[in-house]
Amino acid sequence: MKLEGKKLIWKDYQKEIPDDKYFYVRSCIRQNMFPASEHHFLKIMREDLEKDVFETEHHTTCGGIGYHCDIIKIETIMSIVARQFALMTEAGYKNYAVSCITSFGLYTEIIHTWQTFPEILAKTRRQLKEATGREFEIPEHVAHASDIIFKLRHEIAAKAKYRLVNKKTGEPLKVVEHIGCHYAKMFPHKGVGGAEYPYVLAGMIEAWGGEIVDYPERRHCCGFGFRQYFVKSNRGYSLSNTHKKFESMEPYKPDMIITNCPGCPYFMDRWQYVIAETEGKTYGENGRGIPVFTYEEVAGLVMGYDPWDLGLQVHQIGPEPVLDKMGIPYDPEAKYKGLDGQDLGKPEWPQNIRCC
C-alpha cells in the first residue's frame, strides 16, 4: 500500500466545506437508532467548537427511504426536498448540513438535476408554492455532517482527551472506515476524497491517531440496501453482504469500525449478532465482535464524553474493548441506566457472541 498514491487521488477530490452557519437536518434512522449521535454532533459543534448550527422541528423526512424502495416518485421527493430548503431559506441560512447519507445523496442528486434541467426546478418551485406557499433557494453548500467533522477534525484533535491509540502499547488502533454508498458513489466529486478511496473518515482516523485498515471489500455495501432488508425474503442477501465484508476484514484484526451512514453502523453491528447466532462465527477478539461506531460517537469519545451519554449501550457489540484500549474510564454499572438513573433493562445474553 502506497499512501502517497492515495494522497494524490485525495487531492483531486477537494470539496468546499464551510466552517460555520449551518442549517441542520436529522436522519430518520439515526434519530431512532443512535439519537445520541446527532445530539452530540450539535453539542460538539455548538458548545465545544462554538459554531452556529440551526435546527427546526418543522423539517421532515427527505423521502429517501421511499425513493430507494421505489414507492415514491422523484417529483414528490423534489417537493419534499424543496420544502426543507424553504425552511433553510426562511431561517436565513445558506449552508445545509445533512445527518443522513442517503439524504445527502438525494439532495446532491436533486440539486444536480435542477441545475441540469432548469425547467424541472421551475416546476418544483411552482409545485411547492402551490402546495405550501413557500419559496426556496438552493443551498450554497450541502455538506454531510461527517464532512463538517472532517473539516474540523484538527480542532477536535486539539481539544481531544483521548486518542485512537492503545494506551498500553502505544500502538495506533486499527480502524476500519465504512462509507455509506450514497455518500460519493453517485457523485464522486461531492465526497471528500472521491468514491474509490474516500478520505472523509480516513482523515478523522488519521487526525485522531488511528491506523486505517484497507481491506479488499472496503468498497462493498454494508448490506442494508433498503429493499434487501425491508423485504424479509431478501434479508439473507442483506446478511450475506455484511458477512462478505467481515470475512474480508477479519485477517486485518481491526479494533473498531467507524461509519458515516445511518444504516451501516446499524447493520454492521446487528448482523454480527445474527451471523454469530446462525453461523456460530464471531469476529474480533475473544468472540466479542468488532465494535461499530458512528463518527460522532468517536468524536465524542475522543473529546472525553461519557460512553453511556454517547449511547454506546444501545450497540449490540459492546464498546468496552475499545474503551479499555483507549483508556477511557466507564462505569459498567451505569451502562444500562437511563439519564434519570432508571434501569433500561439488560439485553438477553446471546449464545454465541459475548456482549455485555
Binding site: E4, G5, K6, L8, E217
Partner: protein, 351 residues
C-alpha cells in the same frame, strides 16, 4: 541540368518535431531524397517509447536492435540530418517562402516544411482509480513490466516470484469514463506477448488475460494468440476488471465477470499488469495552436486532411503529420506512415 536541380533540392529544409521512430524514419526518408532535415527531440536521446521497450510483437524482436539501426543510420546521414536535442517548438512564423521555426533553446531554423511526429503518451493508469495503480504494490502498467523485462527483474516488490499474474486489457482505451472512446490497437497483442514472456520466465505461473475483445488483426497476431493458449496455457477471460484490492498478504484481489459464462469471478494474483493505451501527447493542443492544426474532438489526436489520399496532410500549408500523433499505431504502421509522410512532403516540395 540534373545536378542543378539536385543542388536546388538540397537547399530545401524540413523540420521534424519528435525524435521517435516516426521522426527518425521520416528524417531518413527525406535525407535519402536529398533534403536537409532538422530533427527536434525534446529529450536528450532519440527513440521515444521504443527506447523503453524490451521486445516487440509479434516475433519478440529486441527493440534495442531496431532502435540502434535507426540511430546508426541517422548518424551516418549526419551531413543531411541535424538532430537538435532538448528542444521543443517555441513558435512558427510563416514567410513568403516556407517558415521560420524558433525552438525553445532559441535556435532559429528555416523550414520549407514541418513534420509533426510527436507521437503519443501512455495513458496514466492512476486515472482508473479502481485499479489501484500507484496505491497497491504489484499493480503495474505494461510499460513498467516492459522495463522489468529489460532489467531482467520480473519479480514482485518484495522479491517474490509471481505465481499468478493477470493482464488487464483496454486500460484507458474504449472507456468513455476517461474520454478515450477509441481502441489503442497495440495493447491486446502486447498483453499476449507479455503473457507469453511471463510463461517463458515462469512456466509454472498461471497467467490470466482479462479482455473485452481480442483484436488480433495483424499478421502473425492470431498465431501468437493461439500459441499463448495452446503452448503456454495462458487463461483468457472475457471480462473487464471492475475493482482491485490488496489482500492482507500484499496480493492483489481482482474482480471481474467471466462474460462467456455469465458468472462473476474473483481471483488473487501476485502481479496485476494494466495494459495502458495510447493517448494524444500532452503537447498536442499547444502544437495545434502554434501550427494551426485541427484536433479530433472524438479522440484528441491530430486530424489529418483525410483518411485516404492525404493521410499525412494537415489543413495548414507545409505542415505534415506522421506516426502515432494521428492515432494509435503499431511500430510497423508508424514506420510506414513516416515513409508515407516523407513522400507527401517530397511531392509538396517538388510540386
Amino acid at each position: 541540368m540534373l545536378l542543378e536541380k539536385y543542388m536546388e533540392m538540397m537547399k530545401e529544409t524540413v523540420v521534424i518535431i519528435g525524435g521517435g521512430p516516426a521522426g527518425m524514419e521520416a528524417a531518413l526518408s527525406l535525407a535519402g531524397r536529398g533534403y536537409k532535415v532538422h530533427l527536434v527531440e525534446k529529450t536528450n536521446a532519440l527513440g521515444g517509447h521504443l527506447a523503453r521497450w524490451d521486445r516487440l510483437f509479434p516475433q519478440q524482436d529486441p527493440a534495442q536492435e531496431i532502435l540502434n539501426e535507426l540511430v546508426n543510420r541517422i548518424r551516418e546521414a549526419d551531413d543531411r540530418i541535424e538532430v537538435v536535442y532538448n528542444a521543443e517548438l517555441q513558435y512558427i512564423k510563416r514567410r513568403m517562402r516556407g517558415m521560420e521555426v524558433l525552438l525553445s533553446n532559441q535556435t532559429l531554423l528555416q523550414a520549407d516544411a514541418v513534420l509533426v511526429a510527436c507521437g503519443f503518451d501512455l495513458f496514466r493508469a492512476e486515472r482508473k482509480e479502481e485499479y489501484g495503480y500507484g496505491i497497491y504494490e504489484n499493480v503495474l502498467t505494461s510499460a513498467d513490466l516492459e522495463r522489468k523485462f529489460k532489467e531482467h527483474k520480473v519479480v514482485c516488490t518484495d522479491g517474490r516470484t509471481p505465481e499468478k499474474v493477470a493482464f488487464v486489457h483496454c486500460v484507458g482505451s474504449r472507456d468513455e469514463k476517461v474520454d478515450h472512446t477509441y481502441c489503442s490497437k497495440v495493447c491486446c497483442v502486447t498483453a499476449v506477448k507479455q503473457a507469453c514472456e511471463i510463461k517463458e520466465l515462469y512456466p509454472e505461473a498461471e497467467v490470466f488475460n482479462l479482455y473485452m475483445d481480442l483484436r488480433m488483426f495483424d499478421r502473425y497476431f492470431e498465431q501468437m494468440y493461439h500459441r499463448a493458449q495452446s503452448h503456454y496455457g495462458v487463461h483468457f477471460v472475457r471480462g473487464r476488471l471492475s475493482e482491485v484490492a490488496e489482500t492482507v498478504d500484499g496480493k492483489i484481489l481482482i474482480k471481474t465477470e467471466d462474460t462467456l459464462l455469465g458468472r462473476p469471478m474473483k481471483l488473487t494474483v501476485d502481479m496485476l499488469v494494466l495494459m495502458v493505451g495510447m493517448q494524444a501527447c500532452a503537447q498536442t493542443a499547444e502544437l495545434a495552436e502554434k501550427l494551426d492544426l485541427k484536433v479530433s474532438a472524438s479522440d484528441h489526436f491530430f486530424e489529418t486532411k483525410d483518411l485516404f489520399l492525404r493521410g499525412n496532410h494537415t489543413h495548414a500549408k507545409g505542415v505534415f503529420l506522421a506516426g502515432a500523433c494521428t492515432g494509435p499505431k503499431s511500430l510497423p504502421d508508424t514506420l510506414q506512415d513516416a515513409r508515407s509522410a516523407a513522400e507527401s512532403i517530397h511531392r509538396y516540395l517538388t510540386d
